[in-house]
């Protein structure tokens, strides 16, 4: 398959309290090396996965922001963040560890509708 399937990872969980965020990001990294159209939408508490200033070593954990930063190297460049989720947390794109496209709810609805499959965390 050259064009592959359109697969969106919907990530809504904050990192560290559970390993859901880490394991979900690991799945995205693996998906990136397959020849598929992979995208990621960070939404709700999931936006904390990509906030800057994280230091997982304080918890003897991997720094989730660093894991997320590897996404483009694995070919995952379609990275989206819910604008309202950022605003509710007093965050803006400059607070994030990698370049993302901010989407409003209507754009997220279109993004979801365009997928062959959605995998969540």
């Amino acid at each position: 398959m050259t064009n592959g399937k359109r697969i969106l990872f919907l990530l809504r969980q904050a990192p560290y309290a559970t390993c859901h965020a880490l394991e979900a990001l690991e799945a995205v990294l693996v998906a990136g090396v397959f020849d598929q159209q992979v995208s990621v939408l960070f939404r709700d508490a999931g936006v904390w996965q990509v906030v800057n200033g994280q230091d997982g070593s304080a918890l003897e954990a991997r720094t989730i922001g660093k894991v997320a930063q590897a996404l483009p190297q694995y070919g995952v460049t379609a990275l989206y963040v819910c604008g309202e989720s950022l605003a509710q947390r007093s965050l803006c794109p400059a607070d994030l560890v990698l370049p993302v496209t901010v989407l409003d709810d209507a754009a997220q609805a279109r993004l979801l509708a365009a997928q062959d499959a959605v995998v969540n965390d």
Partner: protein, 96 residues
């Protein structure tokens, strides 16, 4: 093809409704069925919000004693009905 949203915890319905399209279907399951209590119009969040089809999974509804407590706008479906919804929608998005 419209999307099927699976809501497995009640508070997650709000996030789902923010991005669900007018033709999408929403299936409440597990603890998501509590979002359907006396809220048959939970899917109509505001006068200009598009109507969506709202379903609840029968075993979860019955187990929790919610049979007569769900809003009138909610259709109760069996596991077979769940499969039917999956057949008619793509993608399937889970909200927990």
């Amino acid at each position: 093809m419209p999307t099927l949203h699976l809501v497995s915890r009640a508070p997650a319905l709000a996030a789902c409704l923010e991005v669900a399209g007018a033709d999408d279907a929403i299936l409440l399951l597990e603890d998501g069925v509590y979002a359907g209590v006396a809220a048959g119009h939970a899917a109509d969040d505001g006068a200009d919000a598009p109507p969506r089809s709202l379903f609840a999974l029968e075993p979860d509804v019955r187990a929790r004693g919610l049979g007569d407590r769900l809003g009138a706008g909610i259709t109760i479906v069996s596991d077979a009905g769940f499969v039917g919804l999956v057949e008619r929608h793509q993608p399937i998005v889970t909200w927990r």
